[in-house]
């Protein structure tokens, strides 16, 4: 894909060639997809959720397919921030795509420590995962209570000059309350949605399909919910939104832009089509050309509700 002026996007100072990023946990550290996607051309690489200490994640079966979706209970397996910084980052920092690190802490302080360690030139932004449904400490606890969410954002902001992206959980009664809380606490960007908590049962063994019993639901099945939440939040906050949840093709992404997202991320789609991040961007260009829209930003929030 050649660079296209219709797509160049900047949110909170993060300069991207396209507004199509990859969702944390679904694109590894980028390099796994280098044969399918030009890592110099995609919007941004959001790397797998990283923690202070290495984590081995959950045991047993970690994914299950569901109608138009999938459940995962990876449980934040990752090699830890130090290994990431010393062994992985040097391998990927030369790509043009900005690198955004998704972090999870088991306490407010841990988010601060992680944010500080990532306050380095190779990193474009920090995404706070306060919405992982698959770990007991941390994760979703912070993402379902506005005060805790705000505390995490404040602590991160205190410790880094990088743009801070707060990633919201959809497992809440009122997503707008959460969005406003992180905005007030100083988040530069909101990304949404993380997975919905779900479950599947093996009716032969009478056991849960997943090792961790429950897991996070992603993929096309959740798109209507994600889109609704992005739309609600877009009307309530003034910071940019990275929309995600079930984006498989350009048409899906365009719905998110119209609902109010300034950028989008593809997650589960990477597993089905490893070139998804590029294919979605290409499809958006075609759409903009057909519709005679000069720049993607002219779509953002343009949903006409009456």
């Amino acid at each position: 894909m050649k660079q296209n002026s219709r797509l160049a996007t900047e949110i909170a100072g993060i300069k991207m060639k396209t507004p199509v990023m990859t969702a944390s946990g679904t694109f590894g550290f980028g390099e796994e997809f280098s044969e399918f996607v030009d890592l110099n051309q995609i919007g941004a690489i959001v790397v797998k959720g990283t923690t202070l200490k290495p984590r081995s994640g959950n045991t047993g079966v970690r994914i299950a397919e569901t109608p138009s979706g999938m459940l995962n209970c990876i449980g934040l397996e990752n090699p830890g921030i130090e290994y990431f910084l010393t062994d992985i980052l040097p391998r990927i920092s030369h790509y043009d795509a900005p690198i955004i690190v998704n972090i999870s802490g088991s306490s407010v302080e841990e988010y601060g420590i992680l944010a500080k360690k990532l306050d380095i030139p190779e990193i474009a932004a920090i995404e706070l995962n306060i919405s992982c449904p698959n770990v007991k400490e941390g994760g979703i606890i912070f993402g379902t209570d506005p005060l805790s969410a705000a505390a995490v954002v404040k602590e991160a902001k205190k410790n880094t000059k990088k743009p801070v992206i707060a990633k919201l959980s959809p497992n809440v009664t009122d997503i707008v309350v959460m969005a406003k809380a992180v905005e007030e606490a100083g988040a530069d960007v909101i990304s949404m949605i993380n997975t919905l908590l779900g479950m599947a049962i093996n009716i032969n063994s009478w056991k849960p399909v997943l090792g961790n019993v429950t897991g996070g639901l992603s993929g096309p099945a959740v798109k209507p919910i994600a889109l609704r939440m992005v739309w609600q939040v877009a009307q309530a906050v003034h910071i940019p939104i990275i929309g995600m949840g079930g984006i498989m093709k350009a048409e899906d992404a365009i719905e998110f832009f119209l609902a109010g997202a300034s950028a989008v991320a593809v997650g589960t789609a990477n597993f089905v089509n490893p070139s998804a991040a590029e294919d979605v961007a290409k499809g958006i260009i075609k759409y903009l050309e057909k519709k005679n829209v000069e720049h993607i930003s002219q779509l953002v929030g343009q949903l006409k509700c009456n």
Binding site: G28, E32, E65, G69, M70, G219, N270, F271, V272, P274
Partner: protein
């Protein structure tokens, strides 16, 4: 040697038994690169299953540019694959993973259930080594593989749970004797995990190097999603079955 994801044409999709079929696809670029033990990740276009399905490469015809994939119909995904007809297309991502180490002279292949399929490709590539195979199944009906191994192996040993073919019992029942009487320098085992663990143990106690091929639920197949990792027993980091495997040295994982 880049991995490829592309729509490939189905040439044939025929039953080998009631619930086992062989799919032959034209995929010359994958066929050229493929190594025994590697797999492809299949997505039936427009079909309901969202995710791909991993299937081992059962054999390759480089001249014709074809791959043979032998699979048991167990659920939605394999049922969708079973519905494919000649001239249909299917999206094929591969070749994925790391295959078997072929540096041996007198290998014994051990296969259980569908694990017998990828050993065909292995036996092809092991030629001209003097190869034997030990296959286990529940009953005679499951062990329709002999013809596939003709000309590829020197000896075929068979066990069945019910004694309807070969020796009654499991592969591990027969294995110690084989290891005592023959001079194998390598064991390659592919089958249910419990069987592979048993074989690995016996192999170790007889001092024969052993490779196993693991199966895990997979999403990406590329080492990115961490659906498929397993603990490593040699003190190193967790292994990604899709990328570091599916073939491992037994002591790495058991």
């Amino acid at each position: 040697m880049p991995k490829i994801a592309m729509d490939v044409v189905v040439l044939e999709n025929k039953h080998l038994s009631d619930d086992v079929k062989e799919l032959i696809v034209y995929a010359p670029d994958i066929a050229k690169q493929a190594m025994p033990g590697q797999f492809v990740h299949l997505k039936v276009i427009k079909s309901e299953p969202l995710l791909r399905r991993p299937i081992s490469i059962a054999s390759v015809d480089e001249a014709k540019g074809t791959l043979s994939l032998i699979y048991r119909i167990v659920g939605k995904g394999t049922a969708a694959i079973a519905d494919l007809k000649a001239e249909n297309q299917v999206n094929c991502l591969g070749p994925l993973g790391h295959g078997f180490d072929l540096t041996c002279k007198r290998p014994l292949l051990i296969g259980g259930g569908m694990g017998i399929a990828p050993l065909i490709f292995l036996a092809q590539r092991l030629c001209p080594a003097t190869t034997s195979i030990l296959m286990g199944g529940r009953n005679k009906a499951e062990l329709f593989w002999q013809k596939r191994y003709e000309g590829l192996v020197n000896e075929i040993f068979i066990t069945t749970d019910d004694g309807s073919l070969g020796v009654k019992g499991f592969t591990v029942t027969l294995l110690p004797e084989l290891l005592k009487t023959k001079q194998y320098d390598r064991i390659f085992v592919c089958g249910p995990e419990i069987m592979m663990a048993g074989v690995a143990k016996i192999a170790q106690s007889h001092g024969v190097a052993c490779q196993v091929s693991l199966e895990k639920h997979m999403a990406c197949g590329l080492g990115a999603c961490l659906s498929c990792t397993c603990e490593s027993k040699d003190g190193s980091k967790r292994k990604k079955v899709c990328k570091d495997g599916p073939v491992f040295w037994a002591q790495e994982v058991f």
